[in-house]
Amino acid sequence: MSNRTVHRRTVLGGAAAVAAGWALTGCGEGGDADGEPPRERKKGQRIQLTFWSWVPGIDKPVDLWNHKNPEVQVKVEKVSAVNGQQYAKMHAAIKARNPPDLGQIEFPVLPGFLLDDGLLDLAPLGAARHRNEFFGWQWQQSVFGKGVYAIPQASGPMGLFLRQDLFDEWDVPAPRTWDEYEAAAKAVRKKGAWIETFAPANGNRFAGLAWQAGAEWYRTHGDTWIVHLDDAPTRRVADYWESLVRQKLVKTIPDRQNAWYKDLQTGAIPAWLGSSWGDALLAGNAPGTKGRWRAAPLPQWKAGGQAFANWGGSTTAVFAASRYPRDALDFAVWLNTDPESIALLIDGGYGFPSAKKGYAATDLDVDKDFFGGQAYSKVFAAAGAHVDTSWRWGPGVDTLYQRLGDAFTDALADGGSLRSVLTKVQAQTVADLRDKGLKAESGG
């Protein structure tokens, strides 16, 4: 039945992967066994590095690099159009000892790759000397112990996108606090629309909102991971959204899917608590609403507060099995610090640069027209400056999101509380980490 087809394709895909593996190892000169010192390129030797990335428009800066560096050619392979879906393949490739040289890896999932011994520690190659070229807290996201495991590329400070025309028409002011947001949701509901959706399976955004409230999900104590999902700030966020859902002030459909895009296009959903990279998503999927959107700061828990958070952001990492790690590192640094490269990345809508220099040098307002001429990036730049920089990610974030999503969905459907989900998922996460052979405790 269903899986006869899948089966066949899996087998074929597996065969192709095996063939590709042989081809890749076959064309090398050997010497990439475990435990050998980093490999070097001979002077004048032409090599090709492979780079797995989903970032829209990533080909352009890579083309520029290839043009400038004939000896070190980089080949982009777009494994998936959706971030997150290529991590499975990366993990499999690491296990099969056949990963690419470089990969696009988001901040939250870096520790998961470290557990796999999948990433190369770039510190022995001198990566630390680039430290000051990046924003400190973002650089710190890829530092574990004394190791540097990736070069940061971009972050995603959070804000509120809204349809200014509809908010004006309905006489609803842009909410500045979460109380005002609830009031706005009520007002919008009276007009027959829903202010937003609370997508229960979107762990990323929930983490961002908890981050803003001051949560600290992962901590370390000695060599033990402390998981603290069930803390006061996260409970506050869970209670808040549960109340909105129970009052039927927000939808609960999945976000960033066709039905949601349709709602954005028609104005059935006139707002989105999104992230700086969301500009490209809105402009690309609701082109008919051009000129009507504005960006506003994330609503605050305290009136006049300045607490912001980050959703997304990624790095360029070098895989441990890369045959030419030094060249791979050079490319990763160039990609994320060279002003021309950053300008091209921004055109593609990749978020806010992690490099200090590139940040100032480029005009981030690439699609002002869509936002009615508003210098909307200033909103996100200001948010980025106030992101709580003590937030840390731990291993198994993907599993945590999945458990959170499953349990939130259950709770919303069966009438359980979102708060009780936190207790449950915290215990599950500690168990998951222990099952992975790590020391883990519940935060008290």
Binding site: N3, D117, G145, I253, D398, Q402, L438, K439
Partner: protein, 332 residues
């Protein structure tokens, strides 16, 4: 190769009529030796593929399922991960997981409803197309079979568009008639998936059944007509009993397919929050392997899934075979 050799298991199905060919045991001649070599030549490619694509992955999964990863280094990061023997710990872990067990319950319920429905539908289509008065048979045969040519993933995307509220024309039509339908709600989503699977595989099963019908000797129909049987009686008393082997075959295929349900829920999952990460056992194993990166637990789950599929399909075969025996006995 005598059938009288007592030490050999009886190759003739229980209850089936025995035919004595009258051959006696004798020494293998040169022709037979050559035939045996030729047979080996034909069987070898199959065996090679069978070992490479079936036994080897199975063995690897078994091996993986018995291991556990231990990590060293500060916080378990950047150190060395090595694998140690874990006994049945991964199986215990899988069996202690509510979601994994719930997935089994779900696919068994799915199969109990969808498989009979699909087989009945496929049988009806096959009988209609093979009836004497059917017109445009090649066209309809292709039309019914066509969905099978659409890969499961594409079929799911296609149906996804028809299910998602806000986009779906079906939902819109229902709403205009005053019905509130949600194909992706928690209660409905399993049957929305069943619909996709039925749409895809009814034509395939129909074709298997038609092939069996084609093998029915024409004299039987002729005899029935002479006896004054109408079309319904021919279908009821000749075609359906003779379809039994094909029905058993399609039934087993469908049961195995049900347990392996994966592509449809996987594709619909982002659209429907009612499908969780452990919706079916296969999806659960996938999540363990590729989201949680716990290959060993996933391997244990895959082995458990294979065992259940084995038990259920052999159980079905026994049941179907037993009945066939009784029937044959009645007739005899």
């Amino acid at each position: 190769m005598s059938r009288d050799t007592p030490s050999r298991p009886d190759p003739v199905p229980r209850g089936a009529a025995r035919k004595d060919t009258g051959r006696r045991p004798r020494r293998a001649t040169r022709t037979e030796a050559r035939n045996a070599r030729a047979a080996a030549g034909f069987v070898l490619p199959f065996l090679a593929l069978f070992v490479l694509c079936f036994l080897a992955p199975l063995g690897y999964a078994l091996y993986e399922s018995l291991l556990r990863t231990e990590r060293t280094g500060p916080l378990g990061l950047g150190g060395r991960a090595h694998q140690v023997f874990a006994g049945l710990a991964n199986y215990a872990h899988a069996l202690a997981d509510d979601r994994f067990l719930a997935g089994f319950g779900r696919v068994l319920l799915f199969g109990a409803v969808q498989v009979p429905l699909m087989i009945v539908l496929a049988t009806a289509l096959a009988l209609l197309l093979e009836s004497a008065s059917a017109r445009g048979v090649p066209f309809f045969r292709s039309a019914f079979f066509l969905p099978y040519g659409v890969p499961g993933v594409i079929a799911s995307i296609l149906w996804g568009f028809l299910y998602v509220p806000g986009i779906s024309p079906l939902v819109k039509i229902a709403e205009s008639m005053g019905w509130q339908v949600d194909f992706l709600s928690r209660t409905a989503v399993l049957w929305s998936l069943a619909n996709i699977v039925t749409w895809q595989f009814t034509g395939y099963n129909m074709l298997v059944l038609i092939a069996q019908l084609k093998a029915v000797p024409g004299e039987l129909y002729e005899a029935a007509r002479i006896d004054g049987a109408n079309a319904w009686q021919v279908a009821r008393h000749i075609k359906i009993p003779l379809l039994r082997p094909a029905l058993v075959l399609t039934g087993v295929f469908s049961i195995i397919g049900t347990l392996q349900l994966f592509a449809e829920p996987m594709v619909l999952r982002p659209l429907a929050s009612s499908i969780d990460s452990g919706f079916t056992p296969n999806l659960h194993a996938y999540s363990e392997a590729f989201v949680g990166n716990n290959q060993q637990v996933a391997a244990a789950e895959a082995v458990l899934l294979a065992l259940v599929a084995c038990a259920v399909s052999f159980g079905f075969l026994r049941l179907a075979g037993g009945r066939a025996g009784e029937r044959a006995g009645e007739r005899g």
